[in-house]
Subunit: 425 residues, 2 copies
């Protein structure tokens, strides 16, 4: 393949004609494919069908003397705390067990920061003139939206293969209006980068001017390797404690991509003081999250070793899908000098960086041909990618043969948009 | 029995001696009984054991083309909306299906009013100097706490057997700082009163000065008769719409006291405009509540007729417990002129009005003898009963023989506290 930059205008025109013809053919095929959301496939959900029949009789609903069916146990069943503590490498006293969505726990943390203040807040954030939040980007659109919805100013921090640009972060946190940072530290959404030990160390040692700086540590893919053995990962709670920042961090995780996305179990991990403070506030809104679902999960997932075996089976289903993405990209746009992409070994996403100024056009072309991608720009604060380059590929849901079709369309769109761009100059 | 008011001081002294002796005997018995919370009994939970085995295989998880296991369907499964609409007498489009706690939906409604404002708010409540909330009392402590936790000023409205004192409510809502009112319209907590048609009509026709006045209509006991057939109840959404107040009302309900208190299904019912507005805000915090639990409940409860059959079985378990309370009160303190109480035919609570100025003392005496009651005063804003008279009895959890013991202790405490009071004058 010859890089487009080495082609003459006439050759580019010819290429474009060929791409447009191919594109029209895709359009005629009437495809209806979706690579927009990190949604586990039906095949993955079928892996966990035994969780449907965990309870056979009332006796099964008791654990450690607690009837999981009834009211009580605000912060969660002890066995669920133990499970999460082992998985995350923290202590059971540092766990609050939530409902079916870790997003809700994140939202509630920010919401309570606004209405009541966090443990170390001088006042509720709604009483402040200005709240700023650091958003390593590209990142997770739903994170950014939570803080945006409360009126915080989102500050973009470039994502590097080692994690957020820490030189910049260390500068930015000197501003007392900077109240926190969103992080997906392992297999980041969408790049699939895992923060380096150095980055994590520097994060733990941050000296933010805001006493209530909230490190929102969304460990969504903590055991989600699909192409390697489990990669051990530092316990951020321990690191923050050792760095003298015990109350700075709020870690989140869930089983959404281990068991059932719509009916999983989530957790918040934080210092005992934070857990005590937040539990008191959460006690006003709920008597306890669904303990039956907590018990169902602990009985099914058992422990870390057993969970990793399940995750390996998820990985077997996911691996060929990601490989399809990597191979198609290599074959169809590699060497043209118009795109680069990441090739993570875990998580749920691939970042594709199309020629700057073409991501929106690629997205629109794909849509025209029946392939739905996450909106171009969605991975940046306010939905605006300054380079108009990043596209998030979520290959988990479609079967491989559909994915191949979808990737053909996407690659065609990447080429076509690049050619249009090059020829308009 | 002779009323205490007709006894001479010497006779009262004698009575007190006898009561104290009896009380000491109770203390020695080392009881450990709890009538504090409206907690269904284990026998009731065992009624619904078939809900544990609703799902046998992956195929069971599909409904109307939706895979309940996966992400999606923010406002809930259609079948769950249909279920609630039939139960409450509203339309399916007026339903948002929540998680295992209607309290969370209530909290979130108030929380969003503070951080974002409600549909008709001029600004978020956190930007206002003053927010006041009407609290018919005695009422539900957790309701009051929600608004108190956000800094609202709680205004007590006397509860009458027909519902809140509407003359007063109609006056109070002329103050634009009055932003809403808590209601448990059927078998109110703790009196067990059902609002009269006149009261409900006047509520629907309120003309609050605040455009975003929030009628918090907690229909917690909508099908919870234990000593009569189901009592049909007006749909407040229709009444408010007909009165020109379509967006004033937020109705809440849950299956906590139909199936499993720790793992039920909740709902919010409101105008389509309110549902659309709140769904957009809720979409920032969750992808959907637990749809597996929604489907589990719809399959188990089926429809209103089937639900009422189940509720009749709950009633058979609850009825003897409430009768024990009524009979003990009649036998042990009736005719002494020192206490009155309510005798509801549904719901979960009985209000006992001890001699004014003695409720705290009664509570402390009971505790001393191993009987836990809801804190005296808890049923009033800020936990302060101006009469120090009301005690909430929750007879659902203990078996009848324990309840008899607990009621003996309570009645003894009511008499003893009254005698102490009469003799200190």
């Amino acid at each position: 393949m010859i890089p487009y930059s080495e082609l003459t205008p006439v050759e580019l025109e010819k290429q474009m004609e060929a791409e447009r013809e191919r594109f029209e053919a895709y359009k005629k095929a009437g495809l209806k494919l979706n690579m927009a959301r990190g949604k586990p496939s039906t095949e993955q959900l079928d892996l966990v069908s035994d969780i449907l029949t965990i309870f056979a009789s009332p006796e099964d609903c008791f654990v450690d003397g607690v009837d999981a069916r009834n009211y009580g146990e605000l912060s969660g069943l002890q066995c669920a705390k133990n499970y999460w503590a082992e998985l995350l490498g923290c202590q059971a006293e540092e766990i609050f067990v939530g409902g079916n969505a870790s997003l809700t726990l994140m939202y509630d943390t920010i919401s309570k920061a606004y209405t009541h203040g966090l443990l170390r807040s001088e006042k509720p954030w709604c009483k402040l003139d200005k709240v700023k939040f650091l958003c390593p980007a590209p990142g997770y659109d739903r994170h950014f939206l939570v803080t945006e919805s409360f009126g915080a100013e989102l500050i973009t921090v470039p994502m590097l293969p080692t994690g957020p640009d820490m030189d910049l972060v260390e500068e930015l946190v000197k501003d007392p209006a900077v109240k926190g940072m969103w992080c997906v530290p392992k297999y980041s959404n969408p790049d699939g980068y895992t923060y380096s030990d150095e980055t994590i160390g520097r994060i733990a040692h941050l000296k933010p001017a805001a006493p209530d700086f909230a490190l929102m540590w969304d460990n969504a893919y903590c055991v989600h390797e699909f192409d390697s053995a489990f990669q051990p990962f530092a316990d951020i709670l321990t690191l923050c404690r050792e760095a003298g920042n015990p109350d700075m961090v709020y870690e989140f995780a869930s089983t959404s991509k281990m068991t059932l996305p719509g009916a999983g179990m989530s957790c918040l991990a934080a210092s005992k003081e934070n857990i005590a403070y937040l539990t008191k506030l959460i006690g006003v809104q709920i008597i306890s999250y669904d303990k039956m679902n907590q018990l169902r999960h602990v009985r099914f997932l058992q422990d870390k070793a057993h969970t990793l075996k399940l995750m390996a089976r998820h990985g077997e289903i996911l691996r060929p899908k990601f490989q399809t993405v990597y191979e198609k990209l290599q074959k169809e746009v590699g060497g043209l000098g118009i795109a680069r992409w990441t090739e993570p070994k875990g998580g749920y996403f691939v970042s594709l960086y199309a020629m700057p100024g073409t991501a929106k056009r690629v997205w629109a072309l794909c849509k025209e041909a029946g392939v739905i991608l996450t909106g171009a720009g969605a991975t940046y604060p306010y939905g605006v990618d300054p380079e108009d380059s990043n596209l998030r590929i979520a290959p988990s849901f479609p079967p491989v043969h559909e994915l191949e079709q979808a990737m053909d369309v996407l690659c065609c769109a990447v080429r076509l948009a690049a050619l249009e761009k090059l020829l308009e100059k």
